[in-house]
């Protein structure tokens, strides 16, 4: 009661005074009514003002009242210069909003613990080794038999959990014939119990469902999938669905917030690990292995012995695995077996999205932070200038007894007001920007999905950021103001140079930050441009891609007939078949041996294509000819230049032969004769250097010349219409109507595949460009304000210099010299910082090096141009100074 009343009294100070007044007056009235002399009664009170003051201080919380007064005063100060204040709030809001937005994304992707019990005890197992081409590589996929051995070996101290990637898979609900896509994950039966998850409906998978192959045809839906696919229909239990020819029964729905362990992808369907055909194969590494320490086990002491133990178990398995190394050269086996097992904390889940975007988001966060710093410097400059202008007021306040603490509070209040307004505005920006950026992370057909709640983590970050901003803005001016020596200030100003020294430091700081932003941005923009303008070597114009599957597989003749039917559709110019599209993310290699020699250290990458595919893709032949319809694989091959150069250096490769070495995918050896050579075209990704690629005929036969069935392939359709997607529905229907087992699983265009390759680069380039523009603008405004202020301050000096005959050039020099010195100093610091930062993100650049001359020259020119434009008004003002007027007024 009492605290509350004191606080509310502080807020309503005026009303309180009125009440005290009224009560005293009513007392006087009573006294007079009781017959006392009015004058005597009034005198008895003593000084009415003192009584009231004494009463007032008892009934209010004094600190709060002074705080409120300071806030009101600060608000009026801000209101006195609306444009300045609005610009300050806006620039701070932009900085704060961007920082919080970046934090939300990074937190959601990288740091936020999974909504499971014991997330802090969860690790993921990977092996580090020297990969192909001698570079360090990491492999996080494991074979199920290997996993089971390790699981049993670790059982005393930890549980091992197997979880596959959330692959976008074709599924069919039994009730209808339509195929649709869902993210399907195979998990070991111990996952749900170990994660401490409770079903929202039905039951979850248990170890018994996963005990032996084929005994658990059960599926658990994620809550999210149940919600958006079935509208939370409880009758979904018991329904069956078909995945890859197997039928699964829905037995339950997972808890509401659990979306799997692959951060950035929402899992739709969980299946038992043992239901995958891979689960029994020793040679197929296909799922991740997580390790969860048992509660109470100390990770500091237990992890390392456990790691060594599991490493030995896994090594013994791999050495003894007969099927793993069929046809693999000894050098490769040795390289692979020379590996290190690593446990990495996985409490926030693991995903490729994390790997791809960790550094990108880090750099965006850095850029946002720098923009905020630049904005802070600007606003702090403004407040320093204001504080300098108020030196006399401060001196007066100190002279009449204001405590220095009160003065610091006065200025901190003002900066807190600014920061608070900016934070409110920034919150809107952060609320909008994080989902916006996230929506541009993945192709629209398969968007990245992250929970972005505005919970206490985000609020805490925002709050800490706001406090930092308040201190950055206010502390320096506050300390300066409170250090005012009243005697000096009242005498007419103390050391006139001290605020200028401070402002000059601010310029250098700002230029350094701005230069860093510009430098990094230009690197990212140049990377994106070079990547986008990379010569593809094939056409993306009007190319429709129908990714088609056929269940258990169909003979090539069925595929060829379907292609023939597609060719007959009006609007179709040509149709060809490839096993998968270029830049579609698939890459399969095989070892190549020439003339029966052992395989070369580097493999060749292949693609099965039908006759006419090269022409449809507009890939020219440098020599030789295309496949003929009767060509089969093994037999003829067309190779790219890198292949020819790698395996037949300095020779004409046409007519030569090579062997595709046998391995677990190609159990039968095959010999190929090169019938044509094409230029290099990007195979799996735009960023990588050219690989040795060979094309083989789509029609494959085994070693008895019997045709092999094909389970999936892509129809490459060149259309006459400008928008190839317009034809997709009718072509899809046509394929379905043929009832030959072929079904279109995905529709896209070659142009989209190319665009998807540059999504990340485009996103970073756009955002970096935006931050660069803002930083430049803010730095320009800052420069202008500082210089303008300094010219105003030095009016008298400039007037005197003019009066005693200084030339215009001389005036310009004294006004701008130190500013440009500071710009040069700041620029150099920025370059140094830039090299450091660029080193950290070098992997994100494409054909761009930080040391390229134009990468430094471009930001330098932009900075210099901005500086010239920003200083021009102040210089003109200095030149227009009228000495007589100045000398008269001063």
């Amino acid at each position: 009661m009492s605290w509350w009343s004191r606080i509310s009294n502080a807020v309503q100070g005026e009303r309180l005074n009125r009440e005290i007044e009224e009560e005293l007056q009513s007392h006087l009235d009573e006294a007079i009514a009781a017959g006392r002399d009015p004058g005597e009664a009034r005198r008895a009170f003593g000084s009415a003002l003192r009584t009231r003051e004494a009463s007032h201080t008892i009934r209010v919380a004094g600190w709060l009242e002074s705080l409120l007064a300071d806030l009101r005063f600060g608000w009026r100060q801000l209101g006195r210069n609306r444009i300045n204040s609005a610009a300050a709030v806006l620039s701070l809001a932009l900085g704060i909003g961007s920082c919080v937005g970046a934090f939300r994304l990074m937190d959601a992707l990288l740091w936020r613990p999974l909504p499971i019990s014991g997330a802090s005890r969860l690790y993921v197992l990977t092996r580090r080794m020297i990969g192909l081409y001698g570079k360090p590589a990491e492999d996080s996929y494991w074979a199920t038999p290997d996993y089971k051995l390790m699981r049993d070996a670790a059982s005393g101290q930890a549980d091992l959990i197997a979880i596959s990637d959330a692959d976008r898979t074709d599924i069919t609900w039994s009730s209808d014939d339509n195929m649709e896509k869902a993210h399907v994950v195979y998990v070991s039966g111990n996952m749900f119990p170990l994660f401490g998850l409770k079903p929202a409906l039905g039951r979850l998978l248990v170890p018994a469902d996963d005990r032996s192959p084929g005994i658990g045809p059960y599926a658990v839906l994620s809550w999210d999938y149940w919600n958006h696919r079935f509208g939370r229909d409880p009758h979904v239990l018991g329904r069956s669905l078909d995945i890859g020819g197997q039928t699964f029964e829905i037995i339950g729905v997972g808890p509401r917030d659990f979306t799997g362990t692959e951060t950035g992808t929402v899992t739709d369907i969980f299946l038992p690990l043992s239901m995958s055909s891979f689960a029994t194969q020793e040679s197929v590494t296909w799922h991740h292995t997580f390790l969860m320490l048992k509660p109470g086990i100390n990770p500091a002491t237990a992890l390392e012995p456990l790691r060594q133990h599991l490493s030995a178990v896994s090594h013994a398995f791999e050495v003894g695995c007969a099927t793993c190394w069929r046809g693999v050269p000894q050098a490769s086996i040795d390289r692979y077996l020379h590996q290190t097992l690593v446990f990495s904390p996985a409490g926030a889940g693991i995903s490729d999205l994390q790997k791809d975007y960790r550094r990108s988001l880090g750099i965006l966060g850095l850029l946002a932070g720098l923009v905020l710093l630049i904005a802070c410097v600007n606003v702090a400059n403004m407040m320093t200038a204001q504080a300098a202008a108020r030196a006399q007021e401060m001196a007066l306040r100190i002279s009449i007894g204001a405590g220095r603490r009160r003065l610091v509070q006065l200025i901190l209040c003002q900066s807190a007001l600014l920061a608070l307004l900016a934070s409110l505005l920034g919150a809107f920006l952060a609320a909008w920007s994080a989902p916006f950026v996230l929506s541009r992370v993945n192709p629209p057909a398969n968007p990245a999905r992250l929970a972005l709640p505005a919970d206490w983590r985000v609020l805490l970050f925002g709050f800490v950021l706001m406090i930092l901003v308040v201190l950055l803005l206010g502390l320096l001016p506050a300390l300066r103001a409170s250090a005012v020596r009243p005697v000096a200030a009242l005498k007419g100003g103390e050391d006139p140079h001290s605020p200028r020294r401070l402002l000059r430091g601010a310029i250098a700081l700002q230029v350094a930050f701005c230069f860093l932003v510009l430098f990094l941005s230009s690197l990212f923009v140049a990377s994106f441009q070079r990547l986008q303008n990379r010569l593809l070597g094939f056409s993306t114009d009007r190319l429709l891609l129908l990714e088609t599957v056929s269940g258990k597989g169909q003979l090539p003749v069925v595929w060829n007939q379907t292609a023939e039917a597609l060719r007959a559709v009006p609007g179709v110019e040509s149709v060809a078949i490839a096993s998968w599209p270029l830049l579609g993310g698939i890459a399969i290699n095989s070892d190549i041996s020439i003339n029966g020699a052992p395989p070369s250290p580097t493999p060749g990458w292949f693609l099965d294509v039908s006759p006419g595919w090269l022409a449809t893709m507009k890939i020219p032949l440098l020599g030789g000819h295309d496949f003929r319809p009767q060509d089969t694989a093994p037999g003829a091959a067309i190779v790219n230049q890198t292949f020819a150069r790698t395996f037949f250096p300095g020779q004409d490769s046409i007519g030569r032969t090579f062997d595709r070495a046998t391995n677990r995918y190609f159990p039968t050896p095959g010999q190929y004769t090169i019938i044509g050579v094409t230029p290099d075209v990007p195979y799996r990704s735009l960023r990588e250097p050219s690989r040795a690629v060979y094309y083989v005929p789509f029609d494959e036969v085994d070693n008895h010349s019997a045709p092999q069935t094909v389970e999936f392939a892509t129809f490459t359709v060149h259309t006459e219409t400008q928008n190839p997607l317009a034809l997709a529905p009718s072509l899809r229907k046509l394929i379905a109507q043929r009832h030959n087992g072929l079904r279109v699983s995905n529709v896209t265009t070659q142009l989209d595949l190319v665009r998807d390759q540059t999504l990340r680069e485009r996103l970073i380039a756009v955002l970096a460009g935006f931050f660069a523009a803002v930083a430049l603008l803010l730095a320009g405004i800052g420069l202008y304000a500082v210089l303008n202020y300094s010219v105003l301050q030095r009016r008298r000096e400039i007037g005197i210099r003019m009066a005693i005959g200084s030339t215009r050039a001389g005036i310009v020099r004294i006004v701008t010299l130190d500013v440009f010195l500071m710009i040069a100093f700041g620029g150099c610091t920025g370059v140094a910082l830039g090299f450091g930062a660029a080193h950290y993100v070098a992997s994100l650049f494409y054909q761009v090096k930080p040391t390229d001359a134009d990468m430094i020259a471009l930001p330098a020119c932009a900075m210099l141009l901005t500086a010239v434009v920003a200083t021009l008004p102040a210089v003109l003002r200095a030149l227009r100074t009228d000495p007589t007027q100045i000398l008269r007024t001063q």
Binding site: S2, E19, E23, S26, H27, A34, A44, I58, R59
Partner: protein, 109 residues
């Protein structure tokens, strides 16, 4: 002013005691009651009465309420709270022991 000095430190006790006998008094009435019940010996000064009232109100010993008087003006009346009753007990026993001690000293001398 000897009369005020006599009140030093015991104003709270007097106000609480008056209010415990007669709840809902306004400031003037409290002052008048102190004067009349003490046979005009003790007088609370206005300048110290009101700060004391406010202090006790903030301490939660008494609570105040605005009422309308017959004359149409408002008056602020005070009454004891539960905490105030406890405080009154404590102050009373403290006063008793102090006055006993003082009497003992006077008798010795």
């Amino acid at each position: 002013m000897p009369r005020t000095d006599a009140l030093q430190g015991s104003l709270d006790l007097l106000v609480l005691k008056i209010l415990s006998r007669r709840p809902r008094l306004h400031g003037y009435a409290i002052m008048a009651a102190i004067a009349s019940t003490s046979g005009e010996v003790l007088r609370a000064e206005e300048g110290s009465l009101y700060p004391a009232l406010y202090r006790m109100e903030e301490a939660g010993w008494i609570r105040a309420e605005w009422i309308k008087k017959d004359s149409g003006r408002r008056a602020r009346v005070y009454e004891l709270t539960a905490a105030g009753k406890k405080q009154l007990g404590a102050e009373e026993s403290r006063w008793q022991s102090v006055s006993l001690a003082i009497n003992r000293v006077l008798r010795e001398a």
